[in-house]
Amino acid sequence: MVPETTHSPAPVTRLTIPRLMASTGPAVEADVVRRAQAGDREAFDELYRCTIGRVYAVCLRMSDDTQTAERLAQDAFVRAWLRLDSFRGDSAFTSWLHRLTVNVVLEDRRSSGRRLSRVENVEDPGVFERGTPAPTVGERIDLERSIARLPSRARDVLILFDVEGYSQEEIARLTGTAVGTVKAQLHRARKLLREMLNR
């Protein structure tokens, strides 16, 4: 497992997670985080509201259904609350929370040993309609549903690399595999996706 502390070297080169409160700036973000670290639940609620969409998106795409995704998102925020002290502010809070969330999802996968996701497990394709509006919603839903049909390991790598922007080295650390394995899973995932989408 990769620790969520931020004083370790930051190998992520492609990760482009925005700061928590882009409109108000890093000073306000730091203040909200500090208040939450001091035990202020309202500040924690504010952090939740600003980040739940991002956390839930990762959980939903990397898990097999909405129920699991909600449970994992809860796990991530409970753990974030318990480990807020380990956030030093060296990087954006959202990056710290994002990595923590990925760890929660991957740990859950390892502990349950489940083989995840087939398209029939995605109860409601509409769950993917609630994101940012896109010009080709139909195509996007097809893409999301196809991603959900991928074998879990290949899907993890695809989500982390192509959607979330982690580097292959970082994914290898997160998943406890070699970079070569990450490349192979990525290739497999993309090939399967293209077959499913007839591209």
């Binding site: 969409g53 939903l60 995704a69 809860q74 409970v78 609350w81 993309r190």
Partner: protein, 239 residues
């Protein structure tokens, strides 16, 4: 052309992970091979679409109340563990009395809310069911279900399970803390839990009959929220 680059090399090319020399080799090949050029274009399109997926997806419901409940349960467990290591047999009765007073005081709003829940849910359910069934209250089978109803039913089960887990966690915690609560507090809490559970049972029964009704879902959520609120205050009062 037979000497096509390996697939992993093409992938690294698309991902911009090749060194300049390797990159030049691939580009030289692409300049003369329409098949590989088409392959690269298709892969780039896919990667671009993946990059453009929305970064945020909102869950169906607010998860905060359950998160708070779980944090509270965790904090109380931690406090209990600390107490267990420091408490001696000669418990400070003054402190115990103060804790009991505080637990009753902190419960006044959740207890009031419990009564409101039962009244609100029962009344609203009765009105709804009477309106739908032409004057007669019925909780029987409504007939065949279409696809959206089945889907709604699955979503309802998911919500139900999520709340059930949170409340079960808090109920277990409360059970383990009974010795720290005054008998009067225990009686009030249990009485109000019965009230809420009754409201929950009614709302869930109605929802099973009509899983696609958002109002019934709201009733169930509301009752669960009140139960969690009551349990949170009760377990806090015991610490």
């Amino acid at each position: 052309m037979n000497d096509h680059p390996r697939e992993d090399r093409v992938q690294d090319y698309v991902d911009d992970l090749l060194c300049p020399e390797e990159r030049a080799e691939v580009e030289q090949h692409l300049a003369a091979c329409a098949q590989c050029l088409s392959e690269v274009a298709a892969l780039r399109d896919l990667v671009a679409d993946l990059h453009n997926l929305p970064a945020e997806i909102q869950p169906d419901s607010d998860l905060l109340s359950v998160i708070h409940a779980r944090i509270d349960a965790h904090a109380t467990h931690a406090t209990d563990a600390t107490h267990a290591t420091h408490t001696t047999d000669t418990t400070d009765t003054t402190t115990a009395a103060r804790l009991r007073d505080r637990s009753l005081y902190s419960l006044r709003y959740p207890l009031a809310a419990a009564a409101v829940v039962l009244i609100a849910v029962s009344t609203a359910l009765t009105v709804m069911l009477v309106q739908r069934n032409g004057g007669s209250v019925r909780l029987g089978n409504n007939g065949s279900r279409n696809g959206s109803t089945v889907l709604a039913s699955r979503q309802t089960s998911a919500v139900d399970q999520r709340y059930s887990e949170a409340t079960a966690e808090l109920e277990n915690l409360l059970q383990s803390q009974r010795s720290q609560l005054a008998p009067e507090t225990i009686r009030l809490v249990e009485e109000n839990l019965r009230v809420i559970d009754q409201a929950l049972a009614e709302a869930r029964a109605a929802l099973r009959e009509d899983p696609s009704d958002p109002a019934l879902s709201d009733f169930v959520r509301s009752a669960y929220e009140k139960k969690i609120d009551l349990l949170r205050h009760a377990t806090r009062g015991a610490t």
